[in-house]
């Protein structure tokens, strides 16, 4: 067994021609280099800057702040906790409602329910719009003087407070964000489902499995790679949320999100390295769960 494995390996290595080696170097090397220059170096610099005071103008003005920026974020800074809460709700809602709905839709459409092509198109439609455009559309609907307010017969002075009303704006925003997210997940899952061998389902059905059992015991496990992708996407989409809310409010403070705080404190007039510290917090929130999850999953696969 061992020999059979090593021999082809050696042969493979030797068989790399000059062109192959060049291609390989180019294909792996250039993206890696770009990744390092455009992503990792700035990331490391951001981490370093988060421990400094700097107004972003002259390099010589940078001085060490120790953990002061982080202290300023965690202490006496209610907006950080509001942002954390909003991002948390966003994540929970996407994980528990929007993503499962997308999966469910994909499953139903794949089963070929009546009018599946119709449903497929209407749920897919929002996906082609960027979140910025979606923000413009729904802001136009709900803002005072907007379409929905007009239908309800409410003029500017009596317009319902929607975006500025803390008891409902979270849910309206999540609804709007889900409008797109559901279609996106549906699409990803659907493409995965198409590759599931129908024979598996048929066999299970003949053995007397219910729909739910087929979904849980056959589809979900076969779809493991896609599951990982949509989980990671859901996580990242929730934590990096920015454009939709920025377009609707034009400011980071009515419905704060971590990314909005990064922006407000890292660009323009409000620049301070507190913005870098926010960015580092966000980075850690994004990568720790993802790396942990991926390690667990891949370990299982190796077994």
């Amino acid at each position: 067994m061992k020999t059979t494995v090593t021999i082809p390996k050696n042969r493979n290595r030797r068989s790399l021609s000059k062109t192959d080696r060049f291609t390989l170097t180019a294909f792996v090397g250039i993206p890696s280099l770009l990744q390092i220059i455009l992503l990792w170096i700035p990331a490391v610099v951001t981490v370093i800057l988060s421990f400094t005071y700097w107004n972003g103008i002259n390099i010589k003005d940078i001085h060490w702040a120790g953990i002061q920026n982080y202290k300023n974020i965690f202490v006496n800074n209610p907006i950080f906790y509001q942002a954390l809460k909003n991002n948390g709700i966003w994540l929970a809602f996407f994980l528990l409602v929007a993503t499962p709905l997308g999966v469910l839709l994909a499953y139903q459409i794949d089963r070929g329910i009546k009018g599946h092509a119709f449903f497929e198109s209407i749920y897919y439609l929002p996906v082609v719009l960027s979140l910025a455009v979606i923000g413009i559309i729904w802001n136009f609907m709900f803002q005072p003087g907007g379409f929905v307010q007009g239908i309800m017969g409410r003029d500017l002075a009596h317009a319902l407070s929607i975006w500025g009303n803390p008891s409902i704006n979270t849910w309206v925003i999540l609804g709007v964000a889900s409008w797109r997210h559901i279609g996106y997940i549906m699409l990803l899952y659907l493409s995965g489902l198409k590759s599931v061998d129908p024979a598996l389902k048929e066999a299970a059905a003949i053995d007397g499995a219910t729909e739910w059992e087929i979904f849980r015991k056959i589809i979900l496990p076969t779809m493991q790679p896609v599951n990982i992708i949509i989980l990671v996407i859901t996580l990242i989409e929730s934590l990096r949320a920015f454009d939709l809310v920025y377009i609707i409010y034009g400011s980071p403070t009515v419905f704060p999100l971590l990314n909005l705080l990064v922006f407000q404190n890292f660009a323009g007039q409000g620049i301070s390295m507190k913005g870098a510290a926010y960015a580092v917090i966000l980075l850690l929130l994004c990568i720790i769960p993802i790396i942990t999850y991926l390690r667990v999953v891949f370990k299982e696969d190796l077994k």
Partner: protein
């Protein structure tokens, strides 16, 4: 979309105008610049028009052409999006900036000037003898005593309302002078089922106008500026007193104030849905655009007196002007052009091209002003202390990220005022000292 939003934003509206504006006057215009303009004549000068659309371009062209006609130096102008220019200002100034551009007095010129990005234009301001001392003083950085901007235009923040509506509730529109008058006016307006005090604070800066003026009326100009610069405390009893007055206004506001911007407030007044609106006077042209009757109905007075000791001696009147990039290719040329924008010839060229701004220079001729324009001048003239608005009187990493949200949470929950002020003070103290 951000483009679209910017078009509506206060900054674009007035900056655009300001750009156009730019000029203060000196009788002999370039007398101080003669030595420099000889040198400048060789190289082109680059000019940035900060927003303002077609009117902004037209005004810039008129002034720059007049400069070229006078000195023989070509001026190459470009227009940029005002908010983008402002947000990337430090980067632009460190790259290859245009030599001169419209800019804003206060923290925004002092801070970048101190950082070495703007050229010292003290000599140019000195040569512009028609500049009133107060404007020059206002353009002087209190830290290093240098001037990084040539002051040109300003506009008043005042209490706006429609004369007809005030008459209808049985009050004299010329006589809204004291806090009690305002309360009475708001009470009567509210009784008629209208919004008594229009407020829109979706963007987070709008309510600063109300806060500024309340604090100046209650505690005076000096205390206000001290507070915004850390020499007084947010937790002081005096500050809390200001917020007591602020809290009295909240029941009179439209409940959807977190949903609308400043232009929502303007529309409330335009559509006769609100009584009073505290705002900068830049929007009057929108009334004119609707109809002359609407424009004639519009009125502005200084925010009413609260504390006799301070009367109505203070006003928010953000001052704009022309700055020169320290790292431009033609700094001397930039200075000469900036000075020209501030001169009588520059002002006249701008006004001839449709500029409706109020210039601080004594060379500015306001005789052609209509009643509302004259009233704006009267409102400006009633004050002896000029504030530049909280986001220019205070440091940038405080006003937007800390004060803005604090005012928003106060208006949502006025009962939490003590906690909010404690947080604000704690966040001020946590800022880096520089």
């Amino acid at each position: 979309m951000s483009e679209e939003k910017n078009v509506l934003s206060r900054r674009t509206v007035l900056k655009g105008a300001a750009i156009g504006g730019a000029g203060l006057a000196a009788g002999g215009a370039l007398s101080a610049g003669t030595a420099t303009s000889a040198r400048a004549a060789g190289a082109d000068i680059h000019w940035t028009t900060r927003g303002g659309g077609d009117t902004g371009d037209k005004i810039a062209k008129a002034v720059n052409d007049a400069f070229t006609a006078k000195t023989g130096t070509k001026v190459i102008a470009q227009q940029v999006n005002s908010d983008d220019f402002q947000n990337n200002f430090a980067q632009i100034m460190q790259g290859s900036p245009d030599d001169a551009f419209g800019w804003m007095a206060g923290w925004r010129s002092n801070h970048y000037g101190e950082a070495g990005l703007l050229a010292d234009v003290t000599a140019q301001n000195k040569a512009l003898t028609s500049l009133p001392a107060s404007a020059v003083q206002a353009a002087t950085n209190p830290v290093d005593k240098k001037q990084y901007i040539i002051p040109t235009t300003y506009y008043p923040w005042g209490l706006h309302y429609r004369k007809s509506m005030v008459k209808k509730i049985g009050m004299n529109p010329e006589k809204i002078q004291h806090w009690d008058d305002l309360i009475k006016m708001m009470t009567l307006t509210k009784k008629n089922g209208l919004v008594a005090y229009a407020m829109g604070d979706k963007q987070g800066w709008e309510a600063m106008g109300t806060f500024d003026i309340l604090n100046a009326r209650v505690n005076g100009y000096k205390y206000h500026i001290d507070l915004l610069n850390g020499r007084a405390k947010w937790t002081d009893a005096k500050t809390k007193e200001t917020f007591k007055y602020f809290a009295q206004l909240i029941p009179f506001m439209n409940p959807n104030f977190m949903d609308i911007d400043w232009d929502g407030c303007r529309d409330l007044l335009l559509q006769k849905m609100c009584g009073a609106m505290m705002m900068g006077s830049w929007f009057a042209n929108d009334f004119k655009a609707k109809s002359q009757a609407d424009y004639n109905d519009l009125w502005v007075v200084p925010f009413p007196e609260i504390n006799k000791a301070h009367g109505i001696d203070t006003i928010d009147a953000p001052l704009d002007g022309i700055s020169v990039a320290a790292h431009g290719k033609n700094v001397e040329g930039g200075k000469a052009l900036a000075q020209f924008w501030g001169s009588k010839e520059g002002i006249n060229a701008a006004i001839g091209a449709g500029d409706t701004n109020i210039y601080v220079s004594k060379d500015f001729d306001s005789s052609g002003y209509d009643a509302f324009g004259k009233q704006k001048l009267a409102v400006l003239g009633s004050a002896k202390n000029i504030m530049f608005f909280a986001d220019r009187d205070s440091r940038g990493d405080f006003a937007g990220p800390i004060l803005g949200p604090a005012l928003q949470s106060f208006m949502k929950n006025p009962k939490n005022v003590n906690k909010i002020l404690e947080n604000t003070q704690a966040q001020w103290e946590a800022l880096p000292k520089n």
